[in-house]
């Protein structure tokens, strides 16, 4: 077996992180973590948000320095003071949020930070040639002269991989590489990964999607609260086992969903056009209908108009054309308050920006919407006793973990903040609920809880529009699934008839002929 | 973290304000200011300053002045400040008359604060040296009946509003303009004269209009080109204006405001002659400045002091004219002026003084 990779770089036979400790003010992010990866394998790193996966990998890539512990490569200790040191040692990282400069071309992005053969002058022609060679070796099709902002997400990811390979990466850290891809793009990406492993690269695959981990990795290590729970071969592992390792208790992955008791139409969206932030239309003729007692899931790859749709339905973004009927009332041009008064609740995508005020207390956030009404206030004066009582009830009912009702919201975890928002929105007994990415960035335990609550609400007759980029979530909760692509609904299918492959094609814009 | 950063940037701003505060700070360390000023501006003052000014005696007369530009602007502000220094020397130095000043008060609210400050500190006479300060002054003066105020250029003492403690002063700049126009038209070889003013209003406009009238009467075939820069302080644009005039054929230039220093430089470089306004600008370009109209405020200042001492706190409006010697034409001995030009200029002064010439329209029939 050759000791060199197809790029001509030496392999990293083994990388070991031993006893890594990393502290941040008030947080022990990594608590004596051991982790290793060998050439020719994919080692998955699994854990909830905040379990310490990213922190661990950032230390391997030189972005942070460990407080304790050491990193060995092929048995030799290395100290990484900056990403440059890690790059020099043959380590590459594909970040979850791509590290690309949109205003530069592919070649420029790859050349960035490299030593030029022409001294201070750029040698983009040489870089381009090598990119083309690498692209062919690893079957990563790319136009070197395209600007990054012109590329689709999947293509941008190829640029990231090429960037790492160009720098001689023998070990690649892949931080949630599938988060923004359609199922088909994920399949393509996995083909590339398998090829790389065959060629002798070592890959670290970070994810919280259990089925992907089971599909691609050879070994899996689970982190929880900064510490290692265990490392085991993937073969023979099950989703339930891994989920239990992550959360620390058994987790329900399949929900019982009684057949929907469909009521009358609650929310009707008729052919709406809505402008995006850049002025051009983000929604181009969207029509949807949600009935009482059903959950309509809206699937799609990020950035296809989901955010604009949610905001338009909440009254936050003007609707240029078309109409929205809520409980029989035309609310197309009504204010957010009018929507609330008409019985609609809204769980926004950006919970810290639109859903809550992070410096306000738990109680203040709880009454944010209805603070001017009874029982919270009387004749413009707050009734603090009633506020405290109602908030305490909600906090208990929705098991929000908070030290006190006066704690500033920012001190709570993402899951608990989301539960509080859920408590606020659902305690109003809405007839219509718009839930945008309700479990994004929320740990599995809290996700499970939120899902159960949404299903309870469905039983209670609420018409729910669930907007999510997590296809598993859509499939687990929805009665019907609509797919959005470039501001249009590609098709609507019944959840029990839908397959992942079919939805994936629709998410990529391939129209569904029958609805 | 965030608030630390905010405080840090605030600190930088504060530090900057402190440093810049040395220029436009609102009237705080008065006695110190005076001492320093005398050290720098030693030339016209004979008095040797020993330490701080003598302790306040009964007869010390305290004057404060607030002005838009600096005491070295070679124009409007300097003319008043030098006038004060001259009167101070005549009265017997800082022991007899104290001068405090705030310069660089381009912003009216800052100036108003300074005026009020000086008044509440018990200055006998507070001068608001800028027509833009008038409105503020009319609000401040009634609050301090024990203090006399003065402002210019204007002739409005606010008596109509029942205010009795405000003097007003104005320069008949058109008179000086007329004479310099006469002089320039007679000296010009090309027959083209260039005038660059700051803003088409007030003192500057009077001067410019007088200059044009004088030139056209002296040489009806002469061409007087006029431009304004829209700013009292844009030196660069004033220089460009002078360049433009010269490119348009002018060989005699004039202008007013403190920004003319830029234009004088261009005149010097291109060999044109300059006529100064408000202050003697010869020093800046000894071979270029032919003559200047100089404001001599000493008469006005002395009369105001005498009045205040006699208990008259305001109500008088002063003008600077050739007749009351408030206007003086200062010739530069370093520049040769043809005899006939000088004769014509002198005749113009005489005509203005005896009333046979109206500076904005010409000789009366």
């Amino acid at each position: 077996m050759s000791n060199l990779l197809p790029t001509g770089q030496p392999r990293i036979e083994e990388m070991q992180m031993l006893g890594i400790v990393k502290r941040f003010p008030g947080v022990l992010a990594n608590d004596h973590v051991d982790f290793d990866v060998k050439a020719g394998e994919i080692h998955a790193l699994l854990g909830e948000n905040g379990a310490g996966k990213s922190t661990l990998m950032r230390q391997l890539y030189g972005l942070y320095r460990p407080d304790e512990g050491k990193i060995l490569i092929n048995g030799v200790e290395h100290v990484f003071r900056s990403p440059q040191d890690a790059i020099n040692a043959g380590i590459g990282m594909i970040h979850q949020h791509f590290m690309l400069v949109p205003s530069l071309t592919v070649v420029e992005n790859v050349a960035l930070g490299l030593k030029s053969s022409r001294g201070p002058l750029l040698d983009l022609e040489r870089v381009e040639k090598r990119i083309l060679t690498l692209a062919e070796q690893y079957r990563l099709k790319i136009d070197p002269h395209a600007y990054v902002w012109q590329l689709a997400v999947g293509e941008q990811q190829r640029v990231e991989i090429l960037k790492a390979l160009y720098r001689g990466a023998a070990l690649l850290i892949l931080d949630e590489p599938t988060a923004v891809l359609t199922p088909q793009e994920v399949d393509d990406l996995f083909l590339t990964f398998r090829q790389m492993v065959t060629d002798g690269h070592a890959l670290i695959f970070i994810s919280h999607k259990l089925h992907e981990v089971l599909d691609i990795s050879h070994r899996v290590t689970v982190l929880r609260d900064g510490a290692t729970v265990g490392t085991r071969p993937t073969a023979g592992a099950t989703k339930a086992e891994l989920a239990q390792m992550m959360v620390g208790r058994p987790v329900i992955l399949q929900y019982d969903r009684p057949a929907p008791k469909l009521g009358k139409s609650r929310l009707k969206v008729n052919d709406i056009y809505v402008a995006g932030d850049r002025g051009s239309d983000a929604l181009r003729g969207v029509s949807l209908e949600v009935h009482a007692g059903e959950i309509l899931g809206l699937a799609g790859v990020s950035g296809n108009g989901q955010r604009e749709l949610a905001e338009a339905l909440a009254g936050l973004r003007p609707i240029r054309q078309g109409s929205v009927v809520l409980n029989g009332r035309d609310v197309t041009h009504d204010s957010p308050l009018a929507h609330i008064d008409a019985g609609q609740s809204y769980i926004p995508e950006e919970r810290m920006r639109e859903g809550a005020i992070k410096d306000f207390s738990v109680a203040d956030n709880f009454i944010l919407e209805d603070h001017g009404k009874r029982p919270y206030s009387r004749a413009t004066f707050f009734d603090f006793k009633a506020i405290a009582e109602q908030t305490r009830k909600a906090v208990e009912a929705y098991s929000v973990k908070t030290p006190s009702l006066d704690t500033p919201l920012k001190n709570l975890s993402g899951g608990n903040i989301q539960k509080l928002i859920l408590a606020r929105e659902l305690s109003r007994q809405p007839s219509v609920l718009i839930a945008a990415q309700p479990t994004r960035g929320v740990d599995i335990g809290a996700s499970e809880y939120i899902h159960q609550r949404l299903l309870q609400q469905r039983q209670a007759g609420t018409a729910t529009l669930l907007i999510s980029e997590d296809l598993d979530e859509i499939l687990a909760l929805s009665d019907r699934i609509a797919v959005i692509y470039e501001g249009k609904i590609v098709g609507v299918v019944n959840a029990n008839e839908a397959s992942v492959e079919q939805l994936g094609l629709m998410m990529a814009g391939v129209a569904e002929t029958h609805a | 973290m965030k608030s630390v950063l905010f405080r840090l940037s605030l600190l930088v701003v504060l530090a900057a304000v402190l440093v810049s505060g040395c220029a436009p700070a609102a009237a705080e360390p008065v006695t110190v200011e005076v001492t320093r000023v005398v050290e720098v501006e030693a030339a016209p003052v004979e008095v040797v300053v020993t330490a701080t000014p003598a302790p306040v005696e009964e007869e010390i007369f305290r004057v404060a002045i607030v002005m838009p530009s600096s005491i070295t602007d070679m124009a409007f502000s300097q003319s008043m400040y030098e006038g004060l220094l001259k009167v101070q020397a005549e009265m017997g130095g800082p022991e007899k008359m104290e001068i405090a000043y705030s310069e660089g008060m381009f912003k009216v609210p800052d100036a108003a604060a300074a005026i009020r400050d000086y008044a509440s500190q018990g200055y006998n006479l507070v001068i608001a040296h800028g027509s833009q300060y008038g409105t503020s002054l009319a609000q401040i003066a009634p609050d301090f009946p024990e203090t006399a105020f003065a402002w210019g250029t204007s002739l409005d003492t606010f008596q109509a509003q029942g205010i009795t403690n405000v003097f007003a002063y104005q320069a008949e700049a058109q008179e000086g303009g007329y004479v310099l126009g006469t002089l320039a038209a007679n000296m010009s070889a090309s027959g083209v004269l260039g005038v660059s003013g700051p803003v088409e209003a007030g003192d500057a406009k009077l001067f410019v209009d007088g200059f044009k009238t004088g030139a056209m009467i002296a040489k009806p075939e002469a061409k007087v080109n006029i431009s304004y820069t829209g700013s009292f302080s844009d030196v660069s644009l004033m220089a460009a204006a002078a360049e433009t005039h010269i490119a348009a054929g002018a060989d005699m230039l004039t202008g007013s405001s403190q920004s003319v220093v830029g234009a004088i430089g261009v005149a010097k470089e291109k060999g044109a002659k300059w006529f100064g306004a408000q202050w003697d600008q010869t020093n800046l370009a000894p071979d270029t400045v032919a003559a200047s109209m100089v404001y001599d405020w000493t008469g006005v200042i002395k009369d105001m002091i005498t009045s205040v001492k006699a208990g008259v706190m305001g109500g008088k409006a002063y003008t600077l004219t050739f007749k009351n010697k408030g206007l003086v034409i200062a010739y530069n001995p370093g520049v040769e002026i043809p005899a006939d030009a000088k004769t014509a200029a002198e005749a113009a002064i005489q005509g203005i003084m005896d009333g046979t010439i109206a500076p904005l329209s010409g000789p009366k029939q």
Partner: protein, 310 residues
């Protein structure tokens, strides 16, 4: 109106416009580097004033304009360094620290002026150099090729800056740091070092911009003599959509229109002077409103870089 567009007038506009544009070019090209790296330095005006003062004072006392120029560049460099420390290392709010720097430069230059000079004096500045052959072209030769050294250098700076920004590894680093510092950092580029460098380049050029007024174009120093030029220079960077060529176009339009409005007045064309002097500013505002390609704005402009934030 026909009187206005005669050959001498057009040549005059060309000549004055080139001179008026010179300080803007130094300051705005410097700021182009600064902003492309993601720093917003609003203190250009203050640096220009200090450069103008130091250039003049050193030039006058030593008798060497070159030393004056060097002094202006150095003081600009130091003030740039100060801005970099505050905005890069301490991550302070850049708009506010820029205003602070402006007030600091304005106050300190006024104070030093009073302490050392006392009054306005003039100096013999850099003399025009006629370029052989080109300077002999009839009409245009004198207008285009008979300027002082600092004018030529200002215009040469434009292609040089474009070359550095678009053809060198340094330029690529500058642009990437301004667009996505996290990405640059992940590739081993020292974000702070790049930003320090550009802010110092910007400071140095702003210092020279000031000196171009005090020892090459107007040849005197007066308090607050830049009169807002530094702020116009910052606006020109937006106008030019963060590209040296665009900045050149902006500086020339602004300066030519300014020269034109003076000619309009001198030629006695019946237009109120207040309207005439507004022309360049109105034009600049219109251009800013309509011509700026926001898409080119460095995405990280005026955002401090924090490693590990996404």
């Amino acid at each position: 109106m026909g009187d206005l567009f005669t050959l001498p007038v057009l040549l005059g506009i060309l000549y004055s416009g080139i001179r008026l544009a010179t300080p803007y070019l130094y300051a705005a090209i410097g700021e182009t580097f600064v902003q492309n790296s993601g720093i917003f330095n609003l203190g250009v005006e203050g640096i220009m004033l200090m450069g103008a003062y130091v250039g003049f004072f050193v030039g006058m006392t030593t008798g060497s304009l070159w030393l004056g120029l060097l002094g202006a560049a150095l003081v600009g460099l130091l003030m740039g360094l100060l801005m970099a420390v505050v905005s890069v290392t301490f991550k302070a709010e850049q708009g506010i620290s820029g205003i602070g720097l402006h007030l600091f430069g304005m106050g300190l230059s006024s104070l030093l002026f009073k302490k050392t000079l006392g009054g306005v004096e003039s100096i013999s500045g850099f003399q025009p150099i006629k370029i052989p052959l080109l300077g002999d072209i009839p009409l245009l030769g004198d207008v285009l090729f008979n300027h002082n050294l600092l004018v030529y250098v200002a215009f040469l700076l434009v292609p040089i800056a474009a070359f550095v920004l678009y053809k060198t590894t340094f330029g690529l680093k500058v642009r990437s740091v301004g667009q996505n510092p996290q990405a640059a950092d992940s590739l081993g580029i020292n974000v702070a070092q790049i930003r320090y460098t550009t802010v110092c380049i910007g400071g140095t050029l702003a210092g020279i911009a000031g000196a171009s007024l005090s020892i090459a174009l107007i040849n005197l120093f007066q308090e607050n003599m830049t009169n807002g030029m530094g702020f116009i220079a910052v606006a020109l960077v937006y106008f030019g959509s963060w590209r040296p060529g665009g900045v050149l176009v902006g500086a020339l339009i602004f300066s030519f229109v300014n020269a034109l409005q003076l000619w309009i007045q001198v030629k006695g064309i019946n237009l109120p002077s207040d309207l005439a002097v507004m022309m360049p500013y109105v034009l600049t505002i219109l251009a800013l409103a309509f011509a700026v390609r926001r898409a080119r704005q460095p995405a990280a402009l005026s955002k401090p870089f924090e490693r590990g934030e996404n």
